[in-house]
Chain length 408, copies 2
């Protein structure tokens, strides 16, 4: 995935919102010597919210972060890559606490005022010495420059080939408000409550409950809609830090100002989600599955996900093959209510299956549609009025190569 759409240098990063400093560096956890430690610092503190994986087995970082996110004001966030600190028992928990303690000591704050997240291999003890040495170094290099935000974005990458960043600017009560985010992919990504590690900064002034509500909605309509391999990680975390430095009149109700912020946040998260899909492990293209005519929203979501997760559909898309039979097969086996006599399927704007019967279509044109970097599959179940969607990507030999050789 080295296409031009990715290589645009982003000058606005998570340090663009006022009130944030950042840094990213190599602590030595990654044997490759690549950056693996990111630190964000908010000198005046930030209101925070986060959503976490619903996996029953979670990393020590998630355990700790779930507690610290309750803190009224948080001043820092540490993210390490290269080691997930998951399935590491009591030692893992102590290491996660040690990360917070180290950052707190260096920044002269309370350990509970630090959020953390870890990503990388599961089940290996965290080389905590390297991580804390890295935090000490990082604290000295904090910077408000855009390049520091980019360094942070690079430091949280695992099998990503490119850092992912997005920025949105809106006006709230006459003040310029900025939201910026970064996310890491690129495998073990399935929906259901937060996907991957996503860090968002904003200078808006907003109450904690509303920030949490906005994040939950945004993630639900973006990150949670992406499935790369249907796999939910032990470490999925999306966090947002709001510094109030924009000095807008604080938002504390679901007013139009809140809605404007929530919309921009969803838009930002959708941008990040698309970047993840396009840089998913081994992916060469992404697709959106829209399911209409469902008996319920849950049915629509289930069917959309079933198609996006179906390996045979993903392989066909990799081969730019308009093999709609596999799409119909996925829909039929996922257990949703459907009216087979009304069932319809479109690839892009080409109807390939209409009212339960194959439609005549130009296979070459359909193949060209699929071969694009992004296309949409639309399915009408003919069973109701509800709609939902899911993002997916193709399944390639490269995905297997990456994941057969990841550990050893």
């Amino acid at each position: 995935m080295n296409s031009p759409r990715h290589t645009k240098r982003v000058s606005k990063t998570i340090t663009t919102p006022k009130g944030f400093l950042a840094v990213g560096l190599a602590s030595g956890v990654k044997r490759s010597g690549k950056p693996d430690l990111g630190l964000i610092y908010c000198p005046d503190g930030a209101v925070v919210a986060a959503v976490f994986t619903t996996n029953r087995i979670v990393s020590a970082a998630v355990d700790v972060c779930r507690q610290h996110v309750k803190t009224r004001k948080v001043y820092a966030a540490v993210v390490n890559s290269g080691n997930a600190n998951a399935c590491t028992g009591q030692r893992g928990y102590k290491d996660a606490v040690a990360m917070c303690q180290c950052a707190a000591r260096e920044l002269d704050i309370d350990p509970h005022q630090v959020l953390i997240a870890s990503t990388g291999i599961i089940g290996e003890p965290l080389p905590i010495g390297k991580v804390t040495d890295g935090i000490v170094k990082a604290a000295k290099k904090l910077s408000p420059r855009a390049s520091a935000g980019l360094d942070f974005a690079s430091a949280i990458m695992t099998t990503d080939t490119l850092p992912k960043q997005a920025v949105r600017q809106i006006e709230i009560s006459g003040k310029k408000v900025c939201i910026a985010g970064t996310v890491k992919g690129a495998g073990m990504i399935g929906p259901n409550m937060a996907t991957t590690i996503c860090v968002i900064t904003t200078d808006i002034a907003i109450s904690k409950p509303l920030l949490a509500a906005a994040l939950k909605d945004a993630v639900g309509n973006s990150l949670n809609k992406l499935t790369v391999d249907g796999h939910q990680s032990t470490n999925d975390t999306a966090m947002i830090l709001a510094s109030a430095s924009a000095q807008n009149r604080p938002i504390s109700a679901r007013c139009p100002r809140y809605k404007r912020f929530a919309k921009a946040l969803t838009d930002l998260c959708t941008d990040l989600t698309r970047q993840m899909a396009l840089d998913a492990e081994g992916a060469t293209r992404m697709f959106t599955v829209v399911v209409k005519g469902a008996a319920s929203r849950a049915d629509a979501a289930k069917a959309a996900r079933a198609v996006a997760d179906y390996d045979l559909v993903k392989c066909a898309i990799h081969g730019a093959d308009p093999n709609w039979g596999r799409i119909i097969c996925a829909v039929g086996s996922c257990g949703v209510k459907l009216n087979t006599g009304k069932l319809t399927c479109k690839i892009g704007d080409i109807t390939v299956f209409r009212s339960g019967k194959p439609a005549k279509f130009d296979a070459q044109k359909a193949s060209r549609t699929i071969a694009r970097p992004q296309h949409t599959i639309t399915i009408d179940l003919g069973a109701g009025k509800h709609t939902d969607f899911c993002y997916g990507c193709d399944l390639s030999r490269e995905y297997v190569t990456i994941n057969a050789d990841y550990h050893t």
Copy 2:
């Protein structure tokens, strides 16, 4: 999968049980010119039972066969490969009926006395002329020889690299009873009510309800326990024909004789299932996931399937990588009750995770265990007393190659 364990010439085939003739030939449906039409004939008739896919969208053959399986005595079964006759609307249904009518005409029986199954590409109209011409030819070549059974086994193959056959012999009330079966793989295979197309012949005398019960149990503990890609086909059918030619005292109750037969049938189906797993699309090895200590049998089955279906586990097994973190991650995300403090995982007889903590183990030895053609992953959830299992196979680049290029 060209290893010696597959290449053994099977001399006993579905014509080994007394009372059956068979044939397999090329009707021209497959563009490759390979065999694609199989016919079984039972001159004295057979008591039959079948289990079908639970996909809500089914092939016309399944629709027709569901009706015909109710017939008291059936005389023939036709299976075509190369075209699934699924998602083909009203025309597909007429074509399926035409297949039965043609066989009935040639064999001088009633169309309702013919079972059918189709497998191959979904959504293309069946070239019915080729199929009926093939049936006419096939009816003239019916033979009781073992080679005819092998020809049938070859004719139902799709992406299989080898025909799959198994035979079991038992004694029932002093009579030799034979059960023989063939099955086709090799992709779009997921559990939940019949997987793939499986045809079993036996010369036992047994009542229809008991034959159905024995088949359901056997399939539930064998074919339904295999997942290649978690995908349920529109055409899955497992059928059994019992000719009563062994002349045993007919079985009409759940007596010890029934139990002996049921056990042999399950054993036969397990044999066929293992052959399928080892010849799955792109697979280089298979594995069994045993889940113990579950709060319910359903939880045990769900967790076993979750691990066997987890692409990242399948990739790790392809790379002979004892990456147990992915196994634990799969268990944690599938929604079953578990006691993280007691959670234990073994690869072969090597404990890699004990009581919620990583165990020290010899990674080289674990890698060698995984590299074998078959190995077992055992997981103890520590949450109860129930057990279940699932068969799976590795995910290779070859699977992607096969399925990216299948259609065009």
